[in-house]
Amino acid sequence: MDAAHIRNFSIIAHIDHGKTTLSDRLLQRTGTVADRDMEAQHLDAMDLEKERGITIKAHPVTMYYKAKNGETYELNLIDTPGHVDFAYEVSRSLSACEGALLIVDAAQGVEAQTVANVNLAMKQGLTIIPVINKIDLPHANIPQARQQLEDVLAISADEAVLASAKEGIGIDEILEAIVARVPAPTPSGANSFQALIFDSYFDTYKGVVILVRVTQGELKAGMQVKLLHSGRTVEIKEVGSFNPKPYVRQRLEVGETGYITANIKTPREVKVGDTITDPRNPSTELPGFQEIHPMVFSGIYPINTADFEQLKQSIAKLQLNDSALTFQTESSAALGFGFRCGFLGLLHMEIVQERLRREFDLDIIATYPSVVYKVRKTDGIEVEIDNPAFMPDVTYIDAVFEPIVKAFVICPGENIGDMMSLISEKRGTIRTTETLDIRRVMLVCKIPMNEILIDFHDRIKSITRGYGSMDYEPEGYEESDMVKLDMMVNGEVMDAFSSLVHRSKAEARGRTLAAKLKEVIPRQQFQVAIQAAIGGKFVARETVSAIRKDVTAKCYGGDISRKRKLLEKQKEGKKRMKAIGSVDIPQDAFIEVLKTS
């Protein structure tokens, strides 16, 4: 297809505003998927995605559409993950496009995620086509949605297409708008063929499947191509597109998106953002992407230590299709051997943990999540710390910098007071307050990322009885008075509970943790002191009193074997406990505390 008849676009939307439904409609209307093959939510492949209504992996789909002008266009829909955790994946998907459909639910109006995604699309310079969806709903408020487009997103409401993905209203108008408004891709003008790798996934039969957008020339099976950044030269085995299933094509031409395979067995060999070109006459490198940097880290440990190998294999398997996930072995005195895993964000973390539990049937425990801190030491060297256990001693620290996010919080007007106190409790500052409509306001604020890790989202939901929404984008680092909080039992640090906290909160958190630990640590034959310490200074203390004696029962001939078995069972039970110093702590206790804090 000549580039003038190609349109590459994405759909961006807040969760549940109808992205998947609309995608399915487009597939149907263009005849890409026959009506009878249409199963609802075609694009969301994984169970977990369907369940949570979020798309995790982006899939490109190629459709052919005969426009009103009589000409046929190739429309490449590049799906994006629906959550800012995956902002990185969103932006690299967007970079393979020239335009984006922005869906706004006519009944809900603009939500936090809408704002965050529009910001990303605008940064990429995409043409945005606003779609006001769900106009069939009785409580649809089209004028209000228009108003919000203008006021909140600075998008002209005149451009909005009114649609109902469910009822099939406005679908043709959307397709026409794509043809008319989204610019055709322009060749880069490079000296030889050139393509951008914007994603990849692993297929057991084909090896690594590389998703590309051709920026100059064309790609065909049999060609020798060079992956510029990694320096490897490979032979293309297959080129193709998705409809949404992969199908083989003769060639991928300039402006088109699709996939290539080249017998590459390890996903790590393919860098997303890399440029594919002619090994004999390499083109310049396309502006690629930064390496993916995980933002949130947490230790994942098998509950049953014997599952370590299986956990390792399972995480490695997940990583095949989730290059954003990083892991390396770590060990904890309390939890044994496990992995320090890096995630793009909280949702990503939850999804990985849930998949390990569900798809791999593993019992795992995750430690308190941590963001990545930058520490400038007194010798001037700066280090990144993603595990509080490796925090340098205070005497070597010159300054600590913590990651900050710009958060968009949308909530009903009546909750604004509570929301402001939540934000300030979370050490956030509000930058702007904007009235969205008669019901809702949007607060744009700056918050340390570590504060939104645990319960920020849940708290918003509970303050607003489910009506609030929140999204964020990373906004660099700021110096901060972070301290390491250690929890100790009888003087021994329980590394699983160490965390970096802002000084203003350390004491309160230490107290909460100590009280919680007191609840779950069983009494021992001696007194157990639970202490919270900040840089060696104790800030909270609880004691678990000692067992004063065993039950002094009788024990005669008939009791001996019974009693022995009972005691053996207890002894066996203690083996499964973790000994911190001389204190035996059941693993359940760790899980309990890690879950609640």
């Binding site: 065993d550 002094t552 024990c555 001939g557 008939g558 074997s561 005691l567 053996e568």
Partner: protein
């Protein structure tokens, strides 16, 4: 160590009948029904016939249930059979009695057949607590029974008491304790209430009808140790005390004081020291020639088996040498005397100081144990933690498959 042909020196006989089930009790016992008791007596006689060739008892213990519930006639049958089987003449012969079921002629019969000790299940001298426990006797019956027993010539009487009973204040406990100590018996067994599953007391606890007050239980045990000592009793095991001389008699000269108090129950000592013993009657355990086994806890099934001329074993297990030694270490340390190193080595083949070096060091470190020149023993504090100490010194069985569950045939 013993060889497989030495006579077994200790015999236990279980009488599985009680007039009424106490609220805390998990022993195998049931109210007697119809002709069942006679059938039981015949079956036990048959079982005694089977074990008699290997049994030359130095100690005999009739426990229950309520042995004193057997009628005079039934006792006569039993004792007569034992005489015929050459099982009488033991140095120590104990029979458990319920204060509500002691009669003068029964007492006389037992005494004349060579019974040396009566162990009386008193539990408490407080009327409301007796009722709380579901006991059928009253405090007056205790005094009367004692008179009857003494009238029949029993000097050796032991009483059982319980503490940490729900509702038992420190004051109530001390009153029972003082009264009991003043009764002039020469042996005392005191147990803390245990909540065994499937007992009414357990259900009540689970339902939250009362709380367990551990501090109070601890204080009650301390009071027990102190007062029993002041009253001339010597503790020889976690839950057992005995005198060296009868109440009022001058104390023994120091050089005559032995490891065990003179009126200690040698039968129970045999258990803790890991001696072989036969167990007859439903649910009875025995340990003979390295094999621990237990009879069916079902009187009818038990009788059926013996009708067919075989013992009614429900299961048997043989512990490996180290596991057995661990068991002995654990249970022997319940005794105040602890384990003399030489005796332990002789009984088990293992040296307590080597195989258990770490455990002994740990017990010493936390003040639960002390090492003397010839032995290791638990301290006063350690005896309170005898179970925890036992848990440490037990050794897993290398071959747990040596446990056999036997089907009745």
């Amino acid at each position: 160590m013993r060889s497989g042909t030495d006579p077994v020196r200790h015999l236990y006989v279980h009488v599985p009948f009680c007039a009424h089930k106490c609220d805390y009790c998990a022993f195998y016992s049931a109210p007697p029904s119809g002709d069942q008791v006679n059938r039981y007596v015949d079956a036990v006689v048959r079982e005694l016939e089977l074990v008699a060739p290997r049994c030359r008892p130095e100690t005999i213990f009739f426990g229950g249930g309520t042995p004193s519930l057997l009628t005079l006639k039934q006792w006569e049958t039993l004792l007569e059979a034992m005489r015929r089987l050459n099982l009488l003449g033991a140095r120590e012969f104990s029979v458990e009695c319920n204060p509500a079921t002691v009669s003068a002629d029964k007492a006389k019969l037992l005494r004349s057949a060579g019974v040396t000790r009566i162990s009386m299940g008193v539990q408490s001298l407080d009327p409301s607590l007796l009722e709380r426990l579901g006991r059928i006797h009253t405090r007056e019956m205790v005094f009367r029974s004692l008179d009857i027993l003494r009238g029949a010539g029993f000097d050796g009487v032991s009483i059982d008491l319980m503490f940490a009973i729900p509702g038992q204040t420190m004051d109530l406990w001390q009153r029972t304790l003082d009264e009991a100590l003043a009764l002039g018996t020469d042996h005392l067994s005191c147990y803390e209430v245990i909540y065994e599953e499937d007992t009414p007391l357990f259900e009540q606890l689970a339902a939250g009808e009362f709380d367990v007050d551990e501090d109070l239980a601890c204080a009650q045990y301390d009071a027990l140790v102190d007062r029993a000592g002041e009253a001339g009793f010597r503790q020889y095991e976690v839950a057992n005390w005995a005198r060296d001389v009868r109440m009022g008699a001058p104390a023994l000269p120091k050089e005559q004081v032995e490891e065990l108090p003179r009126f200690a129950c040698r039968h129970n000592v045999a258990y803790w020291r890991g001696k072989d013993f036969f167990g007859c009657g439903p649910s009875a355990s025995e340990y003979v020639d390295g094999l621990r086994s237990r009879n069916w806890a079902n009187t009818n099934l038990y009788c059926d088996q013996l009708d067919k001329g075989r013992r009614a074993k429900e299961f048997a297990e043989a512990l490996g040498p180290l596991a057995r030694a661990g068991e002995l270490a654990a249970f022997g340390l319940r005794m105040n005397a602890g384990w003399p190193f030489a005796e332990f080595k002789e009984r088990t083949g293992f040296d307590l100081r080597e195989e258990w070096a770490d455990d002994l060091a740990m017990l010493e470190k936390c003040g639960w144990g002390e090492r003397l020149e010839d032995r290791f023993r638990l301290t006063r504090l350690g005896l309170r933690f005898a179970d925890s100490a036992a848990e440490r010194v037990l050794r897993p069985d290398a071959k747990p498959e040596n446990r056999l569950v036997l089907e009745p045939v």
